[in-house]
Amino acid sequence: MIGIGRIARLAGGLLAAGLALAGPAWAQAKPPLVFTGIPDQDESRLVERFGKVAQYLEGKLGVPVRYVPVKSYPAAVTAFTNGQVQLAWFGGFTGVQARKAVPGSQAIAQGAEDAAFRFYLIANAATGLPRSADFPKAIAGKTFTFGARASTSGRLMPEYTIRQNFPGETPEQVFSRVGFSGDHSRTIQLVQSGAFEVGAVDYSVWDLDSKGGKVDPKAVSVIWESPPFPDYQWTVRADVDKTYGEGFTDRLRAALVDVTDPAILEPFGRSKFIPVSNAAYAPLIEVGKATGLLD
C-alpha cells in the first residue's frame, strides 16, 4: 500500500506541477504582451524581424513584449485562439481564420504593400515557359507546388485562380503532381532545384530572396503576376484593452503605423504600416468559401 500511495502521490504532484506551470499563474501587474507571426519564410529572417518589433513595441507601449516562434501557420492561429498570444502578424487567410475563431478581434494595421498584394507563378528554366501577361494555361500537366496549406499568396489565391482558369477542375486534376512546400523560401528552392516545375510564391518574399542572392535567375523565373488582393496584417485580440487599459488597441495601432525605422521595415519587405479594418479582408472570406477552405 505504501509503495502505491507514494507513486500515486508522486504522479499527482507531477501532474499538479505541470498544470500549474501551464496555467494562468503569476498574478503580475502587467503580463507581457505576447505575439507571434506565421512562419512564411526563412526562420533567420523571422527571428530578425520579430526581435526588432518586440524591442520597438516594448519601448513605445511601456509593457513587456515577447515573441513566440511557431512552426506552422495553423499553430500561429491556435496560439491566437487559445489566448497564448494577444497579437499576431497573420497572412490574409490565417487572419480571417483567427478573427472568425476569436469574436471581437480586430485587424489593426497592414503593410502599405498589403492592400494590393500579389503572388507570382514561378517556373524552372527547363520548362521553357515564357513570362506572359495572360494566365499561362500551359502550366497544366506540370508538377506544381503551393506554399503552406493556409497561405494566402501561396495557396488560397493561387488555388482560386487555377480553379477559375480551369473551370470544374481541382489543382490535383490540373497538375501531374501537387505539393505543399511549407513556406515561400522553400517554394523558391524547390522550383529552382527542379523538384517542382512550377510554383506559387509571395511576391515580397521573392523580392527579399532575390535581393539576398538566394535566387538563381538562370534556373528559375517569374512567369506570371497575379491581380491584387489584400494580404498580411497585424491582428489583435479584443481582451487587450481590459488587460492593458482602455485605448490600448489604438495605441498599438498608432505604434505600428509610426514605425519609420528601415531596420524594422526591411526584414518585412514593407515600406510602412498603415491602419486597416476587418472589412478590408471580406473578399478573402468569399474566396475561402469558393475554394472550400472556409465554411
Binding site: 502505491i4 507513486i7 508522486l10 507531477l14 501551464a22 505576447v34 513566440v68 495553423p74 496549406r149 532545384s193
Partner: protein
C-alpha cells in the same frame, strides 16, 4: 483478406506478406522529385563529420530530457496503477488501446489547442500514450511472473496489498528494464515534438535541416545519440528522484499563457463537435452528408495509402533485418566486427523514424520512397539488434558449420519463428508511424489530418485521428491472431528484453 487463411504456416505468412508488398509496390508512388539528392546527402554527411557543437543550445537538450523524464515518469506511474485492473477489466483494456493507438504527435496537435505551446502539452503528449503502453506491458510482465508468493497470502488480502507485497518484489527488476527502454523512446518522442514547435532539440534541428545548416544538424544529432547511448550511466536507481525533480525545475517557462479553462470548454463543446451538430442541424441525413465526403475523400484513400506504405515498409524491414543481424552476432561478425555492427544498429535505431523520414523527404521529395526508407531503416535496426541477441543465445554444436551455411541452414531456421514474431509485433508500430508521416507530405491519413488542422476543422481532424486509431487497433488484433495461429505468441518481442536474452547478452559482453 488474404491473411485469413485457415492456418497459414511460416511459409504461408511470409509469402503472403511478400506478395502483398509486391502488389503494393505496383501502386505506390515512388517518384524521386528532387534533382540532386546525392549532393544534398553528401552535404548532410559532411555536417555529421564536421559537427558544429557550439551551435547546440544547452537548454534545448535540457528541455528534451525534461519532457522525456516527466512524460515517461507520469506515463509509467499511471501505467503501473492501471496495470493492476488491466487483466480483469475489458473497459480498462479498451481505454488503454485507445490511448496508445494515437501517436504522440497527434496528441500534441490536439493538446496544443488547449494548453498552447507549453510544457504541459509536451509532457502530456508523451504521458498519455505511454500510460496506455506501460499499463499493457506491465500487466503482461505481471502475468508472466512467478505466482508462488501470491498463493501463500492469507485470504481477504486486498488487491493493492497483494500487488505490493507479493507481486512487485518479483517483477520490479523487469519493470525497471522496460521503463528505461520507455525513456529511450520518450527521448525520441520528445525530440520529434520539437518539429511541431515545442522547444526541444527537434525545434532547432528542424530549422537546421530546412535551411541546410547541416553542421548544426549533425552536432544536434550526435548530442542526441550521446544522450541515448549513455542513458544507462545517468539513469540509475539513485538518480531517478533527482532526474524527476530536476526535470520539473528545468521545464521551459511558457511565453504567454493559454487560457486553459475557456479553451478546454471551447475545444470540447465547439471545436470537435461535428459541424452539422454545431449549427443545430443534428439530423442523421445532415450528419451523413457531412461525413460521406470525409469518408470517401479522406479516410478511405488515406487508409489505403497508410496500409500500402506499412506493408512495403514491413517487408523492407524484414529484408533489412535479415541482412543486418549477422553484423551484431558473434558467430558471424567476429570479435572485431561485432562492436561496429552494434554501434551501427544502435545509431540507426536511435534515430527517430519521423526525423529520418523528414530528412529523407528533404533529400528525395515527397513520395512514399523516403517514408519507406526511414521506416525500414529504423525498424530493421531494432529487429536486427534483437535477432543478433537471439542468435548469440543459441546453443550451437561444437562442429556447427560456418558462414553462409550456418546462417542459411541453422541460425535462420532456428530463429525464424522469433523473426516472424518480432515483425508481426512491429507491424502495428510501423502502421502508426506510416499514418503520422502524412504530416510530412506523404498522402497517408496524417496528410488529411494536417489539412484539416490547417483549415481549422478540428471536428474532421478528430474523426481522422480516430480512424487512424481504429486501423491501428485492427492491425494489432490481426497481428495477434496470426501470432497465435503460428504459435509464436509467447516469444519475446520487446526491445527491453526478457531475462534469458539479457543473460545471453551479458555472457557475450
Amino acid at each position: 483478406m488474404r491473411l485469413a487463411l485457415p492456418s497459414p504456416g511460416y511459409r504461408g505468412v511470409s509469402g503472403g506478406f511478400a506478395v502483398a508488398a509486391l502488389a503494393c509496390l505496383s501502386v505506390a508512388d515512388l517518384h524521386v522529385t528532387t534533382l540532386h539528392p546525392l549532393a544534398e546527402l553528401t552535404r548532410f554527411l559532411g555536417g555529421l563529420i564536421r559537427p558544429d557543437f557550439p551551435a547546440v543550445e544547452a537548454w534545448g537538450v535540457a528541455y528534451t530530457v525534461a519532457f522525456a523524464v516527466l512524460g515517461v515518469g507520469l506515463g509509467a506511474g499511471a501505467g503501473l496503477l492501471i496495470a493492476i485492473p488491466f487483466a480483469r477489466s475489458r473497459g480498462v483494456r479498451l481505454a488503454c488501446a485507445a490511448l496508445r493507438s494515437v501517436h504522440e504527435l497527434f496528441w500534441a496537435l490536439l493538446l496544443m489547442q488547449v494548453f498552447g505551446l507549453s510544457a504541459t502539452t509536451g509532457v502530456l503528449a508523451i504521458a498519455l500514450p505511454y500510460a496506455g503502453i506501460c499499463a499493457k506491458v506491465y500487466s503482461e510482465i505481471i502475468e508472466e511472473a512467478d505466482l508462488s508468493a501470491l498463493r501463500v497470502l492469507p485470504p481477504g488480502t486486498g488487491a493493492a496489498s497483494a500487488f505490493a507485497y507479493a507481486r512487485l518484489p518479483d517483477v520490479a527488476g523487469r519493470f525497471a528494464d522496460y521503463t528505461l527502454y520507455r525513456l529511450e523512446c520518450g527521448l525520441r518522442s520528445s525530440l520529434v515534438l520539437g518539429f511541431i514547435g515545442l522547444p526541444t532539440m527537434g525545434f532547432t534541428l528542424e530549422s537546421a535541416f530546412r535551411q541546410g545548416r547541416y553542421a548544426e544538424a549533425g552536432a544536434l544529432l550526435l548530442v542526441f545519440y550521446g544522450l541515448i547511448g549513455s542513458r544507462r550511466l545517468w539513469v540509475r536507481r539513485w538518480s531517478v528522484p533527482l532526474l524527476l525533480a530536476g526535470a520539473v525545475l528545468a521545464l521551459p517557462p511558457a511565453i504567454g499563457h493559454a487560457e486553459v479553462g475557456p479553451s478546454l470548454v471551447r475545444f470540447l463543446t465547439h471545436d470537435i463537435v461535428p459541424a452539422p451538430l454545431r449549427t443545430g442541424e443534428g439530423t442523421l441525413p445532415a450528419l451523413w452528408a457531412w461525413f460521406r465526403p470525409i469518408l470517401t475523400g479522406q479516410i478511405l484513400p488515406g487508409t489505403a495509402q497508410t496500409l500500402v506504405l506499412a506493408q512495403i515498409a514491413l517487408v523492407a524491414t524484414a529484408l533489412g533485418a535479415l541482412l543486418l543481424f549477422p553484423l551484431t552476432a558473434r558467430r558471424f561478425a567476429g570479435p572485431v566486427g561485432r562492436p561496429f555492427g552494434r554501434v551501427l544498429l544502435v545509431a540507426v535505431r536511435s534515430t527517430p523514424d519521423y526525423m529520418l523520414a523528414y530528412l529523407c523527404l528533404q533529400l528525395l521529395g515527397p513520395s512514399m520512397l523516403p517514408a519507406i526508407i526511414a521506416l525500414s531503416l529504423h525498424n530493421a535496426g531494432i529487429v536486427g539488434t534483437l535477432m543478433g541477441q537471439h542468435a548469440d543465445a543459441i546453443p550451437y554444436r561444437a562442429d556447427a558449420p560456418r558462414g553462409m551455411n550456418l546462417y542459411a541452414y541453422e541460425t535462420l531456421p532456428r530463429l525464424y519463428g522469433q523473426f516472424l514474431a518480432l515483425l508481426l509485433y512491429r507491424w502495428e508500430l510501423i502502421l502508426r508511424e506510416s499514418a503520422i508521416f502524412g504530416i510530412l507530405g506523404v498522402t497517408t491519413l496524417g496528410f488529411y489530418v494536417d489539412a484539416a488542422i490547417s483549415e481549422l476543422r478540428l471536428d474532421v481532424a478528430v474523426v481522422l485521428i480516430a480512424s487512424t486509431a481504429l486501423l491501428t487497433v485492427a492491425v494489432d488484433a490481426l497481428s495477434r491472431r496470426l501470432r497465435r495461429s503460428l504459435r509464436i505468441n509467447d516469444l519475446p518481442v520487446r526491445l527491453s528484453g526478457p531475462p534469458a536474452v539479457a543473460r545471453g547478452e551479458a555472457v557475450g559482453a
